[in-house]
């Protein structure tokens, strides 16, 4: 990468760099000074302190939950569409038979540990029985607590 240049050219370049160099550095410094002295530019969210005002967007995909009415009845028919739509089998829809011998939902197990929150199950559900809630504070020290049973009651029917 050696170029053949005369001594004068070399010195011209050298001097030019001596002048433009510091100037460019001052430009950079001026930006950081501007940011330093302008507290309005601080964009930090104070997370644990702003819990009350912090709201997720409506479409935010947090944990899966079942839509239930006041009595704890859900809309699930144990058809298993969500189970099939799930890319990594994070949902167990375990059906049971009720007293009339009809297939109803027995237990809806949700493996939060492996859930990728893609939302395909919600999309697949034909009855709108499940949704993704806005919960994001989900850290835990016990991995077994990540296996959840979502329904309180057996399915209707």
């Amino acid at each position: 990468m050696q170029e053949n240049i005369t001594l004068i050219q070399y010195f011209k370049r050298y001097l030019k760099r001596c002048i433009t160099g510091p100037w460019s550095l001052m430009c950079g410094l001026s930006v950081s000074l501007k940011y330093f002295f302008d507290p309005r530019r601080i964009v930090t969210e104070q997370y644990p302190e702003n819990r009350k005002t912090l709201k997720m967007h409506e479409r935010f995909r947090g944990r899966l939950e079942m839509i239930e009415d006041q009595d704890g009845n859900n809309l699930c028919t144990a058809c298993g569409m969500c189970e099939r739509a799930c890319p990594n089998a994070s949902i167990n829809v375990l059906a049971t038979k009720n007293i009339a011998g009809k297939k109803v939902l027995g237990r809806y197990i949700y493996h939060f540990a492996s859930c990728t929150q893609c939302g395909l199950c919600v999309e697949a559900c034909p009855f709108g029985a499940i949704r993704m809630n806005q919960e994001f504070e989900v850290a835990t020290t016990d991995p077994n607590s990540l296996e959840m049973i979502l329904n309180k009651k057996e399915g209707q029917g």
Binding site: M1, R17, T20, G21, P22, S24, L25, C27, G28, S30, V31, S32, K34, Y35, V43, H57, E58, R59, F60, R61, A85, P87, T116, Q117, C118, G119, L120, E123, M132
Partner: protein, 378 residues
């Protein structure tokens, strides 16, 4: 001649003592789990061998037992800096097979999210470039604006990174009403910030010294190695899939493809900055033309793909992202899906670029190639 570790090929008579350094798989500047074996002569790199596979997750094997929709969700995890663009790459391949079209509003949503994704990725590049050169502040500047894009994406798609948004025939949801004003506000903000950031880094003499003439990739080499995206365009090849093979509605917009000719690190940096401006241009045109009414997706089709082989290519922030879908029978599951990530050839060409440079230059080169390792390893 002592036996060299696997991968090293250069034979030479040595007078000085050479030694080998392992960079990675856990090294702050390899952008993920990449291992570089370096053969060093003092601080100068004699030869470099990349070792891949530290984040090889067998996605292609897994895809064979997944439905197409599930694979869209999985494709988020390839180039996670712009997951939204991966989605589109897969979806376009599927649309070719399913023969569904996308209504105008759907296309606008696609283009806008694409460009937002591109800006997001280039902002990370801007940050990492500054950060890897030693200016930690750049890293934070880049991410600051990126957060705003994340916010928009979260509002539209429901997730910050892994969006899983596009579907054959359109997208998953319509955009909310606040979308357009938010993008507008973001663009105004970004224009301001970019001016500051460019002042901060672009003319800085240390940056110039460290990037001009470093890691030169000639035009011939860039083509031969199959580089794409900003890396190829920095070497003087005017190749952008949006122009040469327009997908979606990219042919309706007026934008330039920036091309530089030196192929060094500084050009690769400049080209990405220029692309941010071009993306902003496209976004502004989108905002002007955005159809308020009208359907945003086409009639729902069964998620089955007829037999055949389908190929799609799009231009992500990193370059040419191609998806090759093989459907052996008409059905919901692919026989095989192959993805061509743009970063793979870049890392393959790394040896060519890094030879003879210092170890600090390697960091600069890595930063300007802007690789995403999971996309290479899949």
């Amino acid at each position: 001649m002592p036996t060299l570790p696997p991968g090293f090929r250069l034979q030479r008579e040595t007078n000085t003592e050479e030694f080998f350094i392992n960079m990675g798989p856990q090294h702050p500047s390899t952008h993920g789990a990449l291992r570089l074996a370096l053969r060093m002569d003092g601080e100068t790199i004699v030869e470099l061998v990349p070792h891949f596979g530290y984040i090889h997750r067998g996605m292609e094997k897994q895809a064979e037992s997944m439905s197409y929709l599930q694979y869209i969700a999985l494709s988020d995890r390839q180039d996670y800096l712009t997951a939204i663009q991966n989605n589109l790459g897969v979806v376009i391949a599927l649309e070719k097979g399913m023969n569904v079209g996308v209504p105008e509003k759907g296309e606008y949503i696609r283009v806008m999210l694409q460009e937002l994704g591109r800006i997001a990725s280039h902002l990370v590049f801007f940050g990492c470039f500054g950060g890897d050169l030693g200016g930690q502040t750049c890293l934070l500047f880049g991410f600051k604006e990126r957060e705003m894009i994340h916010d928009i994406l979260e509002e539209v798609t429901g997730s910050r990174l892994t969006t899983n948004f596009f579907r054959p025939g359109g997208s998953r949801y319509d955009v909310p009403e606040t979308f357009i004003p938010r993008v507008k506000a973001f663009l105004d903000h970004l224009e301001d910030s970019m001016r500051d950031y460019e002042r901060f880094l672009s003319k800085n003499i240390i940056v110039l010294e460290r990037s001009i003439g470093i890691g030169v990739l000639s035009k011939e080499d860039a083509i031969a190695y199959g580089c794409s995206g900003p890396v190829l365009r920095a070497s003087g090849v005017n190749f952008d899939v949006r122009r040469v093979n327009p997908y979606s509605i990219y042919d309706q917009f007026d934008f330039d493809i920036p091309v530089f000719h030196n192929g060094d690190c500084y050009d690769r940096y400049k080209i990405r900055i220029a692309e941010i401006h071009e993306s902003m241009k496209i976004l502004r045109q989108c905002i002007d033309k955005f159809p308020k009414e009208g359907p945003w997706r086409s009639k729902e089709k069964p998620v089955r793909l007829p037999e055949g082989r389908y190929y799609s290519e799009i231009e992500t922030a990193k370059g040419l992202y191609a998806t090759y879908v093989v459907a052996a029978t008409t059905g919901e599951k692919p026989y095989r899906i192959h993805t061509r990530g743009p970063s793979f050839p870049h890392i393959a060409a790394l040896n060519k670029m890094a030879q003879g440079h210092k170890i600090s230059d390697l960091v600069t080169i890595m930063a300007t190639l802007d690789p995403v390792i999971p996309e290479i390893d899949r």
